[in-house]
């Protein structure tokens, strides 16, 4: 099977093979065949009378020891996956809330409020008075409300309820899926899926939706607070792919998801003393900070830091032989990095108390010593640089330019250049006249099960040609950035005439001397709510709910439990959502039918599983067509 469509990744796979270093693709091959019970969601390990399996063919057992059937097995498994995803985004968000609280109290000098406008915008949305109040005072109240979101409240989760349409809130109330906290639905899901609690697959799935809506709130909170502390992304030109690593610089890669330490490392890397130390150590180009995965996206959209590579290919950054330090926080960090790093001089540095890896050096992040730790990390990288083995240096030349940083605010600001009085009007007018056929949000990961980026590339070409406006987050963004789809050239090459005209008009107005890039990079995977914000604004402006808009989502190469949580809230938000791989639910016809069809009657959104990218694009186009017809627009 083809492993990747990215030539830089491929050259590193070849290099690793030559050196006998196993990578993710080799470990996957060693796992084959993978267990069909697990693939179908038909095994249960929730109690010690198990493990139990259900025979999908009917000859063997049809119930677990406790009597749970295949529908219960699968629904419980999905619920726990969404709970894990929500716990991850919740952990990320809670981390931000603690720091904002400290910052507001003046206890975190390394974390000043950098975006007062965003603070006031968020405060207003969640009902905090801003008139005549100082920044610290507002920040304190916002931080306290943020902290309160994690426990179980008597009222709906603020960051979810205030960030969707009124119609959505009514729908969520109607089906009893309004979360009142971020952690409490996670705990509730663990409770109801334990031995002898919830056996009703539909009830379990509704609980799963509630948990996913808590995930939406957690994601939104994390994005808002990150913007307040580090600035809201604005368009910036940078580069992506392994060619951003430099032979003559000390290369430091920041990998994971949280901007708390990585943003500070970026700030500190401009310290002239450290740059001088790097030069003195024999690196004339000084310090070169790059990103991997979603920590990479965070610093890419805020500071224009180049992106070296994405999640599935994370190990290849080490195989270049010039990565001096790989600094990780949490989520999507393969423990295998330690064994690959062992074959090179690369220093693998873990920074979070809950995410250590045997073989790595642990330099713990604490908010009161953020800058100090960042300096120490950079000094460690400089030291490692002196141990580079010149014989192992193999930097792929591939890089692509990427215009990134399209937060919802940045999108509205760009539109305001066309129509200052009513920024959303140009977007809506063009959706109505068909220049923009619809909007597709690409989210999710790269998976070892699909040739890296293959689905993204095929789908984006087909959709853009039919004038679909493309938004992207997370490793979907990484794929498009590495593969050159965040350029003006990509718009000229692949956009249909209508889309090209719109992107050109906005780009020209923004002084870009050409169109906006074909794909708008909205941020990391926690930032999917930025796309939701745009959709909500359009829905409110049009006076229709999200489940009628020509907006779809796709995770064509998904991996994580977080992706399952995001996909589930996208469906609850009313978006038809495509997956390029089936999650482990196909063992239950009931659950599969609910997810792909019945749920449509409740929330308007639903899942589509289609591994073939061409067919998937056609499916999304057909969906957009029927949504347009529903609104009385030209199909």
């Amino acid at each position: 099977m083809e492993k990747t469509t990215d030539r830089a990744t491929q050259s590193m796979i070849d290099e690793a093979e030559k050196r006998g270093i196993p990578l993710v693709w080799d470990r996957f091959a060693a796992q084959l065949p993978q267990c069909g019970f697990g693939e179908l969601g038909l095994c249960c390990r929730h109690c010690m009378q198990g493990p139990c399996r259900i025979d999908p063919f009917g000859d063997g057992p049809q119930r677990g020891v406790c009597g749970a059937d295949r529908d219960t097995f699968v629904a419980r498994g999905l619920g726990r996956a969404v709970a894990a995803g929500t716990a991850s985004h919740g952990g990320h968000a809670r981390h931000m809330a603690h720091i904002l609280l400290k910052s507001a109290k003046g206890q975190a000098p390394d974390y000043p409020i950098r975006d007062e406008a965003k603070l006031r915008q968020v405060a207003t949305r969640i009902g905090v008075a801003v008139e005549g109040r100082g920044t610290a005072e507002i920040a304190l109240e916002v931080a306290q409300l943020a902290m309160a979101e994690f426990s179980e409240k008597d009222t709906p989760l603020l960051w979810a309820a205030t960030a969707v349409t009124k119609g959505r809130v009514e729908t969520f109330i109607k089906y009893g899926v309004v979360p009142t906290g971020i952690d409490s639905p996670v705990a509730e899901m663990m409770h109801r899926t334990t031995y002898g609690v919830d056996a009703d697959p539909v009830n379990l799935l509704l609980g799963t939706v509630k948990c996913a809506l808590a995930d939406f709130g957690a994601c939104h909170l994390a994005t808002d607070l990150a913007d307040i502390l580090f600035g809201t992304p604005q368009p910036v030109v940078t580069k992506a792919n392994l060619g951003v690593l430099k032979k003559d610089a000390v290369n430091i890669a920041l990998h994971g998801h949280n901007p708390l330490l990585s943003d500070v490392v970026v700030q500190v890397s401009e310290d002239l003393e450290l740059v001088a130390a790097a030069k003195k150590a024999g690196a004339p180009a000084g310090l070169n900070v790059v990103g991997i995965c979603c920590t990479g996206n965070e610093i890419m959209v805020r500071h224009g830091i180049p992106l070296a590579t994405s999640s599935v290919s994370q190990e290849t950054a080490i195989v270049t032989g010039v990565l001096d330090a790989l600094v990780v926080d949490y989520q999507c960090i393969m423990p295998a990095l330690a064994s690959v790093a062992e074959c090179y001089h690369t220093k693998l540095i873990t920074t979070m108390p809950i995410a250590k890896i045997p073989g790595a050096t642990h330099m713990e992040f604490t908010p009161d010593k953020a800058r100090e730790t960042a300096r120490e990390i950079i000094r460690t990288a400089i030291e490692a640089f002196s141990r580079r083995d010149p014989d192992k240096i193999r930097i792929p030349q591939e890089t692509n330019a990427a215009i990134v940083g399209f937060s919802a605010e940045a999108v509205v600001a760009a539109l305001a250049l066309v129509n200052p009085e009513d920024p959303l009007k140009p977007l809506i007018d063009n959706i109505v006249n068909g220049n923009i056929y619809g909007i597709c949000l690409f989210a999710g990961c790269n998976t070892v099960k699909i040739a890296q980026d293959a689905n993204y590339i095929e789908m984006v070409k087909r959709l853009a040609a039919k004038n679909v406006l493309i938004l992207a987050t997370g490793c979907a963004s990484g794929a498009f950035a590495r593969q050159g789809f965040m350029t003006q050239e990509a718009t000229r090459s692949y956009a249909g005439d209508g889309l090209k005209a719109v992107l050109t008009a906005i780009g020209e107005a923004a002084g870009l001397a050409g169109p906006l890039p074909l794909v708008l990079h909205m941020g990391s995977c926690v930032d999917n709510t930025r796309a939701a914000d745009v959709a909500v604004a359009v829905a409110n402006k049009l006076g229709v709910d999200l489940d009628r808009l020509p907006v779809v989502a796709s995770a064509p190469e998904p991996v994580t439990e977080k992706a399952v949580a995001i996909g589930t809230w996208a469906v609850a938000a009313g978006l038809p959502t495509h997956l390029g791989l089936a999650p482990p639910v196909l063992g239950s016809k009931t659950v599969t039918t609910v997810l792909t069809s019945t749920v449509k009657d409740l929330f308007g959104g639903y899942f589509m599983v289609e591994p073939d990218p061409g067919k998937a694009a056609d499916l999304l186009l057909a969906t957009l067509s029927s949504r347009r017809t529903g609104l009385g627009l030209s199909a």
């Binding site: 084959l32 065949p33 993978q34 267990c35 069909g36 019970f37 697990g38 693939e39 179908l40 399996r53 025979d55 999908p56 063919f57 000859d59 063997g60 057992p61």
Partner: protein
């Protein structure tokens, strides 16, 4: 009656329970929890492999004209009274000719004990461990003549549209 291991690839889930059952059967303790702590870990004699769209175990057929047996120069491999090809362990010189000649690739090496390792069809058990471990009955012990008879029946049904 001619007993044979039979696999229905359409029912194989690739769960590798047969591999685990086999290894446990060839451990000292004969229990899973005992086996995983044994100093010399037991070796499996059955291998779940994947092809395009298919998963299935590959195992020893105790061939009637057996290349492994025919090529064993020391008389280590022999056919027992039930027709199963087994080992006189002390005679194995680790030349690996049997590994080379087995058309299924199911004779392997114990590198520590310098011994060829192969299926003994669980000669002490009525039903082989791999068959007992299979949760979907993809792996079955069948009477070959009976299997052929059943297939003839199905063929006639299909041909006559019955």
């Amino acid at each position: 009656m001619m007993n044979a291991l039979y696999v229905d690839p359409q029912k194989c889930m690739g769960c590798k329970s047969c591999e685990i059952g086999c290894a446990v059967q060839h451990s000292k303790s004969k229990t899973l929890f005992g086996a995983v702590f044994e100093e010399a870990l037991p070796m499996k004699r059955i291998f779940v492999e994947a092809g395009p769209g298919v998963k299935m175990p590959v195992f020893c057929h105790h061939c009637e004209d057996a290349p492994c047996l025919n090529s064993c120069i020391t008389g280590c491999l022999y056919r027992d009274e039930h027709g199963f090809i087994r080992r006189h362990k002390e005679r194995c010189i680790a030349c690996w000719t049997c590994v080379m000649t087995c058309p299924f690739g199911v004779v392997t090496r114990d590198e520590n004990k310098h011994l060829a390792v192969k299926c003994d069809r669980c000669h002490k058990r009525e039903v082989p461990a791999c068959v007992s471990a299979c949760p979907t009955r993809a792996l079955q012990l069948v009477d070959l003549d009976e299997l052929a008879r059943r297939k003839r029946g199905r063929y006639v049904q299909a041909e006559t549209g019955g």
